[in-house]
Amino acid sequence: MSDTAIRVEQLGKFYKIGAQKAKYKTFRDTLAHAAATPARMARSLFSRNGQAKTDDNTFWALKDISFEVKRGEVVGIIGRNGAGKSTLLKILSRITDPTTGFAEIHGRVGSLLEVGTGFHPELTGRENIYLNGAILGMSKADIERRFDEMVAFAEVEKFIDTPVKHYSSGMYLRLAFAVAAHLEPEILLVDEVLAVGDAQFQKKCLGKMGEVAKEGRTVLFVSHNMAAIDNLCSDVIVLCTGELAFKGKTSTGIEQYLSGLATAENSQVDLSLRNRPSWALPWIVDARVLNTEGKQQSNFGLGSDVTIELDFRTPNGEKLRRPVMGLVVNHSVRGTVGAINSLMTGFEPNKSEYSMGRIRCKISGTPFLQGLYTVDLWLGDGPRDVDTVTGALSFSIEATDIYGTGRSPFATLGIALIRASWEIEATRPVLVAHKD
């Protein structure tokens, strides 16, 4: 037999948006629907694939996906929100049915779409390990055999007989991940479980994932964390609005995905669609990245001056007394690079109230290496939070010949562009110098 672990052929999943939005129907709707059924059935007899018609309130979450994963491969799945990554994993985990095509899975599957599924707050840590293990498909004997290992991994020895509702969120997560990490299927499907918890927890999880990968198990791994994908996966699958955009080497895939992001996000920023936390008032109305001439630009050379401009407007008579602009610069793969706001730098506005305004922040000689960066914007009134928009803007830094030598700094080594000057002098042996 071949060494195929997963084979997917023309897989598609189709949703009626209506059914998703209005989560449940009522009998009345169905009765009305039933009256129209004979006609529809007659029609579907003549249409080639009755279920797969596309009209306004239907969409394909996945369309014509075909790929193959070999035994022992660790494959990352990347794509923007709504690209179909989770739907793909749900189909492969048999949680939901595909609409078209098929998938073949050779081996036992363990899927980890969430940590702590089925945890019950009233039960103790010990009881939850057994329950969660059973839910994830482990046998009682397996759980007993690896029980101590799990408890040690979670570092909750002392609280193992305490109901988990008294756990701190960190302990809870560690315990939940510990159970999942000790699953021993031949094929492991993992969805973005590393996105939770603090940095140390994430590091631990990543380490465990790395171990699993080295043990020769087949892993499909969905994540937005490019560094994790880059680190763990040999191959990636890039999904774009439900279709397979790329399957191949990780570095190429990530590059393609990021460049796709760049063109999609640079042109026009629609702040209304961006993620804002619930407390944010939508007072940031526009923003842009400018060059030194004040023109909009999205690609800059190493060390260029980059200006971020923010427009705010307050609704019906409200005022900003002390507008403060803040920004967080994130590297698309390696995470947050740094943050700054006008308050901390001692910048004071020149009027006592504003209802509309434009704040510019000029970063002279950006200290960033080549790569893609996103900017989170923040607007405050003095120390008070008013609005924040994550990933509002993005720009890229291109490797330019900043040193005039034809060589550029290594993009793979860190994120900071180090400015340095050098000196050299010839020295004599220390002992000799001493005698002088």
Partner: protein
Amino acid sequence: MTTVDPSIQATIPVIRIEPSRGWVSLKLKELWEYRELLYFLTWRDIKVRYKQTALGAAWAVLQPFMTMVVFSLFFGKLAQIPSDGLPYPIFSFAALVPWTFFAYGLSQSSNSLVGSANLIKKVYFPRLVVPISSILSGIVDFALSFVMLLVLMVYFGIFPTMNVIWLPALLLLAGVTSLGVGLWLSALNVEYRDVRYVIPFLTQFWMFATPIAYPSNLLPEFWRPIYALNPMVGVVEGFRWALLGTDTQPGPMIVASSLAALVLLVSGAFYFKRMEKNFADLV
């Protein structure tokens, strides 16, 4: 949905995932493979049931007991409803014990899928496990109130007949009925939340269609097997006959009830399986 093809390689199971249409097999073998999960889910329901209540498991006994007191006052004393020559309290309590098991199982299993939405959206397992475990978890409550029933019998000086050996079968009949209805309602509940509002009416209505407050011999002999198409008629009359020695001759009624319960269970299971693939998308 999915089929396991064992012919390709003995050691590595191959699962084929494809769209399913229409009626599908029940896959009882797979359900058997997941019996440990069934055990753990049942165990969880039992463990969690009376957490953070002051009276704890006493509720299991109090609920049917208080109903019995109310029934004895209004139906027994005021309305003077006949009770097969038995003291009214024991007459109604012997019926309320299996009835409470049935009604609890019915409402728990009907709400079980919606209640386990998180599990269903994130993990694969045969969904039948969910309603089954919620019925099984009622057995502990049943056992507790059954002990209460025995105490009452001793109090009234009534001793069970040899027919008590039929009790497990009668309990099974109650469980099967409860599961049959629960399968239909839980699958419907995923799509139509109306079911949630129907359940209280249904159990109340069903309670009066079952000879709990009155004896079934108020009906003419000829109509009794038809009346017993309500499977709980067979269960309740069977309980009284086996424990209290009523001379109601429940044989034909129990046969009719068992047939009706079986039809409910099988149709419910197939309907459930047919709807199963949509659960994760709709729940």
